[in-house]
């Protein structure tokens, strides 16, 4: 029986390229006016009701283009792709930081995300206060947070720094604390976007062991982005391969990793041949 916790259907995300500058206030008013009267927006060249995404244009492009997949409880899914492929964008949409332009996503359970470098910590406040604040952000009650507090501090190895303002923490210490919070608080879905990169080698190993244990014992679901293939292959059974906003492949992680390398080699070849041509010219 399938126990789906994340269902993503035809999700597209459009971004603007370039700087907000002259004329945008005017353009925004134009679009606003058009939408108010249900007319066609003169500033959108994108076809929003077609099946296969749309044409980017007019300073806009699709960071995610018609992405669909489902994730079941207890799965660990690695998302791989080149820089700018749309991995972080996808995770930000799932974390409800940004909204998609198209599509539907449905989820069950609480979500704890560590998105890219930096955390939702308040720099002036101590680690202790920030643990409570993060628990509150997850919608937890005070006594629930208290129950996990000691475990969090111990795992993060922050020790006596727990009452020091976060702004005095090293970047690794921040990530340790953030990971520790994400791992210990009750969130059914954990989202990690390139977070382990800052931690030292030993802490990385510790985190991966912890995640494996959580996946096995507590039936949590993990979405994991990393450019370190060994970690992805170790942590995940399944892989999603994103390329320029398209979901190219959804398969067991080893197949996806192989395809990723294959594509990389090919693009290297073509890049090399282009270089040779331009050298010759």
């Amino acid at each position: 029986m399938k126990d789906i916790v994340i269902q993503v259907e035809h999700v597209s995300k459009m971004y603007r390229i370039g700087q907000l500058g002259h004329g945008t206030l005017q353009k925004d008013l134009q679009s606003f006016w058009a939408r108010l009267w249900k007319r066609e927006d003169p500033n959108t060249l994108l076809e929003m009701n077609g099946q296969g995404g749309g044409k980017p244009g007019n300073g806009r492009f699709l960071a995610l283009d018609d992405v669909s997949f489902e994730i079941c409880r207890g799965e660990s899914v690695g998302i791989i792709g080149r820089n700018g492929a749309g991995k972080s964008t996808l995770l930000k949409i799932l974390s409800r930081i940004v909204t998609p332009e198209k599509g539907l996503i449905r989820m069950r359970g609480r979500i704890s995300s560590l998105l890219e470098v930096g955390t939702g910590f308040h720099p002036e406040q101590s680690g202790r206060d920030n643990i409570y604040l993060n628990g509150g952000i997850l919608g937890m009650k005070r006594h629930e947070i208290k129950r996990y507090f000691d475990e969090i501090v111990e795992f993060s190895e922050i020790g006596e720094f727990i009452d020091t303002p976060i702004k005095r923490y090293s970047s690794g210490m921040k990530i340790r604390l953030a990971f520790s919070i994400a791992a210990h608080f009750l969130a059914e879905i954990v989202i990690l976007d390139e977070v382990l990169a800052v931690g030292d080698h030993f802490f990385q190993q510790k985190c991966m062991n912890k995640m494996e244990q959580l996946l096995k014992n507590e039936g949590r679901t993990l979405l994991f982005v990393s450019h370190s293939m060994p970690s992805v292959q170790r942590m995940c059974q399944r892989g999603l391969f994103l390329d320029h906003g398209h979901l190219l492949m959804d398969a067991p992680i080893n197949e996806v990793a192989a395809a990723y390398h294959q594509q990389h080699l090919q693009s290297n070849h073509s890049a090399a041949s282009i270089n040779q041509q331009s050298d010759a010219a």
């Binding site: 029986m1 399938k2 126990d3 789906i4 269902q7 259907e9 035809h10 971004y15 603007r16 907000l20 945008t24 206030l25 925004d28 939408r35 009701n49 930000k92 949409i93 799932l94 974390s95 409800r96 930081i97 940004v98 909204t99 998609p100 332009e101 198209k102 599509g103 539907l104 996503i105 449905r106 989820m107 069950r108 359970g109 609480r110 979500i111 995300s113 998105l115 930096g118 955390t119 939702g120 308040h122 002036e124 406040q125 206060d129 409570y132 604040l133 993060n134 628990g135 509150g136 952000i137 919608g139 937890m140 009650k141 005070r142 303002p165």
Partner: protein
């Protein structure tokens, strides 16, 4: 397309549990999920505590800073408007009491407005990392400002008592028991106007730079520095455009029994406030889903 998908899914038997979270493209105006607030009331408490404590974390005087803003400003105003410019006052009210009462309320309003009107600009780094109902932030700011206001009002009461012992000819009225309504009114006004301003300006920096200017002009046109009775008849109509005036004048009337109250002015003030609140919440529900893309 979406409707067929919904039907398909509800037909699958293993989807026994309801979905907790649904993410769709933002509608033009999506309704706020008020019930979500109750799940996050612990967060609200933590945020109020944070604002309250962080404000004086690295200062020597600590909580005294809250008292200094209205006290020093009142002192300066007593000298300038009382002795140098000689603004005509209602008889009997000591100048210190007059300015302190007006400024205490004014600073509650203007500080709250300043925070809420910069909601996205000053909380963007948090909003791009974690999800929670965004409206919790302005509400927590109003509450922590309310705690500061309470301290200031206690101080005001002390000053009042001292002045009475020194022979001031004013006494509070029973209407003073209704003053929480005035504070609530100012909170709603700051929320509505602040959210609207925030939504209109977060994208365009030059617009948001007008805020300090607006607040400064507001202080001089909200009967903070003069009683309503000092306004010449010819320009009395401008009272109807500034919904802060009736609040401050009414508070002073409750406090001292002196003041000029126009009932129709109170009614227009309430109407303006309600309209601003509706516009503020509507514009906020539109921009809250979109602003992260543009910061």
């Amino acid at each position: 397309m979406n409707t067929t998908n919904t039907q398909k899914n509800s037909a699958i038997p293993d989807n026994h549990l309801p979905w907790d979270i649904e993410i769709t493209p933002p509608k033009f105006l999506s309704p706020l999920k008020w019930n979500e607030f109750f799940r996050y009331k612990n967060l609200l408490g933590l945020l109020v505590y944070r604002d309250f404590v962080v404000y004086y974390k690295q200062t020597i005087l600590g909580p005294l800073w809250w008292l200094l803003q209205p006290v020093i400003t009142s002192g300066v105003f007593v000298i300038f408007f009382g002795f140098i410019l000689k603004v005509p006052m209602d008889g009997g009210t000591p100048l210190m009491l007059f300015f302190l009462s007006g400024l205490t309320l004014w600073f509650y309003f203007s500080n709250s407005l300043n925070q809420i009107a910069n909601l996205f600009a000053s909380n963007g780094s948090m909003f791009e990392k974690v999800y929670f109902p965004r409206l919790i932030i302005p509400i927590s700011q109003l509450l922590s400002n309310l705690m500061k206001l309470t301290l200031e009002l206690i101080f005001l009461a002390i000053v009042y008592t001292v002045l009475c012992f020194q022979g001031a000819q004013v006494r509070p009225t029973w209407w003073l028991l209704l003053s929480p309504i005035i504070i609530f009114y100012l909170a709603v006004l700051a929320l509505g106007f602040g959210l609207l301003f925030n939504s209109l300006t977060y994208k365009y920096k030059d617009l948001s730079l007008t805020l300090p200017f607006i607040i400064q002009i507001g202080m001089f046109t909200s009967s903070v520095i003069h009683p309503v009775s000092a306004i010449p008849k010819e320009i009395l109509y401008y009272l109807y455009f500034n919904p802060v005036i009736p609040a401050i004048e009414l508070f002073r009337f409750m406090l001292t029994g002196q003041g000029t109250i126009y009932p129709d002015q109170i009614v227009t003030g309430i109407v303006v406030t309600v309209v601003l609140l509706l516009l503020g919440i509507m514009s906020f529900s539109y921009t809250e889903k979109r602003f992260i893309d543009t910061i």
